[in-house]
Symmetry: C2
Subunit: 491 residues, 2 copies
Amino acid sequence: MGKEIKTREEDYAQWYNDLVIKGNLADYSAVRGCMVIKPYGFSLWEKMRDQLDRMFKDSGHVNAYFPLFIPKSFLTKEAAHVEGFAKECAVVTHYRLKNDPNGEGIIVDPEAKLEEELIVRPTSETIIWNTYKTWVQSYRDLPLLINQWSNVVRWEMRTRLFLRTTEFLWQEGHTAHATAQEAVDETIQMLNIYADFVENYMALPVIKGVKTESERFAGAIDTYCIEALMQDGKALQAGTSHFLGQNFAKAFDVKFSDKDNKLDYVWATSWGVSTRLVGALVMAHSDDDGLILPPKIAPLQVVIVPIYKGEDKKDLLNEKGKELAAQLKAAGVSVKFDDSDNARPGWKFAEYELKGVPVRIALGLRDLEKNEVEVARRDTKEKIPMSLDGLAGKICQLLEDIHQNIYNKALAYRDKHITKADTWEEFEKLLDEKGGFISAHWDGTAETEEAIKEKTKATIRCIPLNNPLENGKCILTGKPSTQRVLFARAY
Amino acid sequence: MGKEIKTREEDYAQWYNDLVIKGNLADYSAVRGCMVIKPYGFSLWEKMRDQLDRMFKDSGHVNAYFPLFIPKSFLTKEAAHVEGFAKECAVVTHYRLKNDPNGEGIIVDPEAKLEEELIVRPTSETIIWNTYKTWVQSYRDLPLLINQWSNVVRWEMRTRLFLRTTEFLWQEGHTAHATAQEAVDETIQMLNIYADFVENYMALPVIKGVKTESERFAGAIDTYCIEALMQDGKALQAGTSHFLGQNFAKAFDVKFSDKDNKLDYVWATSWGVSTRLVGALVMAHSDDDGLILPPKIAPLQVVIVPIYKGEDKKDLLNEKGKELAAQLKAAGVSVKFDDSDNARPGWKFAEYELKGVPVRIALGLRDLEKNEVEVARRDTKEKIPMSLDGLAGKICQLLEDIHQNIYNKALAYRDKHITKADTWEEFEKLLDEKGGFISAHWDGTAETEEAIKEKTKATIRCIPLNNPLENGKCILTGKPSTQRVLFARAY
């Protein structure tokens, strides 16, 4: 019965792929590194997107849309940006195809070569700041609080469904401010909104922190991030918010006159999350039987499965099922009454388990005689008989409980996997045997960071916000350090 | 006062551009033929998109996402499709940039040449049907009722904001069915949904019809369309729905086994509308003072402007204004209380007129003493004193009235501009002097259609659905004809 998936124990990477593909979230495509997001997966992304969009709008942001293409020369304007970033990307060089004169299908028309190549956006700072130049003259035009939902392309060598794909969907906020302080406040505000969303909707605890210089976004003064922990002990960066200072304003000459008519460069932020979050969700919560989706973003929260005994009282079961579905819908729950008769209940149970539907209600004749149904939670697999009286209210409460339980479980795992290391031996042993975040002293140099990465594949995930100061010695070099930072192997 | 816009009389094309740019809908970009959709314009598109999305979902469709890139070879698989279509497009040939060894910025890395070029999707039939091949085996997998919201690129030589841009946003539905009849029904259903949306939300009457063979989508058996009329007498195709037969299924070898275990090719439809609709909206309804937006999709339905007399009773006006805004919001109306004091009321009036906000409420002290406000309609520019008692209800009704009035006005104009022509002289004269749709006999050949187009720039917009049969003679050749068709010059 059902579809075969590897267990996490057997092969964690394959388990993940099985869930994504057999759980109908996504599929490989004919284009290297690009995925197809299937309807069930897209519906999950829509739920996440719509909630984030509400949170952006509630905090005063508006959406806009900027071109897919970036003139090649734009990428060179901000020195750090081009150095650290925009090399692996899709380059458009021609604008026409024509019939092959030798009759071999179609070829690129050599006469339709672009004067300047266009880059498919890997991120939009450059094209957007080139536009802001024409929108901003005075302090009255500020702040600009603009977000864009779009597709971006980064030519990744090793791709994984959702986690790292050549094309992905994301949002990118790009704001412009009159003062540094306002831009820093915006950067932190968006970090907090991301943390709020990931914790309270995706049920995934995160650590807020700031990146080291080497891990910073190319062109940023500071990169803030939220870091989550997956079940295999690897970290995953779930969102970033950048304070860009005046770097892009200077690169694209965006100045404004302040109240005293003095000209100054505009201050900037950018921030983004992507379809990568879907991958994080799958990896953080699911089990060997399939997906476990947090109720607040599950495309379907409740499924009702009637247990037919042949044709006996089928009408009664259908009537009760529809009635119950209507009650749940009226209570704001998304629900499906699955009366299809091309599959047996056991097959349906396995299918909805695989798909991570938070609550399953089995409607059987014997239970109905007792005015009851059997309610199964996806997260704990517990089966609870419940009276039909006031059931909708109880299901709403149960969905809340499930969210909290999924969150608590992930939090307990995460907290158990933040470990202090004070010697290099301990550090290596923890990485190999326990995984998770390792809190250790570091001498603050990029060289040491790089050396640790080369030796262990662990990177500094972040310096947590409000990190306590503490004198110590660098885990690798023994040089003095003033605080611990969080290391981990990461996706 | 305010921003200068050309009148329609002076220069219709410039009037349109002025409205789009000065009305803050869109802006030119640094990339040839690509536009920036500004926040106000994007918010209008969001309203349209969200309503369409609801209508698609209510009729059983789901969203998904397919890759931006299409392997070049895919375009050659459906012969008519490649012939008629996919030549002017953005071609990705390389996947990496590198530092110029001569120190001149960055160059395309010649070693990073793709084995097979990738085309930025001009439409997604090919990549989607290549995917459906793996999703469809049995009749149980059908129908697939999938829609995608995405960006597409067609390398247009002459572009105009919204109406024809190199990159644009759209939705493309791609459905797969077990029978021809079901696919035809789907094609017609989507045509009706488009007509419903454009008429009842955009307040723009349309003619439903079918395209002639030469105007058909490349790869379609039949292309159905909705055609609207702009104020300069030119037609605009507002949406299309295609019955694709088994063409793409054959090209990509998509077969299914029916209930009797017999293999057959799958039947297909595709259908789309785009940001072009924003252009149609602007052109169809607006006047020389600015945009006129239909209430159901206006980003902002009502603006309340307080008329301060210095500091005198400013608090009272602000209090009343906020109270009224809250009442309107509670009634489901989107409303802004504009208490900014950096502009005088007259300037604000002109600005909101330019932006097409359907209703403006002026809040003055003298009116308030009479328990009244002055309500101005954007569509008729009528000013109506209204009592504050039950104002929210009256405003809701007024918004309905405005929608109906905008629609009626466009309908009257459209109906006045469908004219019969029975001789070639009449035909040419009507085209040049009156414009609009010309209902005339045509001998049914592509040659005549082409000849008429060459002589007059008029094309056959459609053969209306349920067109009455009538014997006549072709307007150009005098050959026998069985029905009139609709000609027009078009965007």
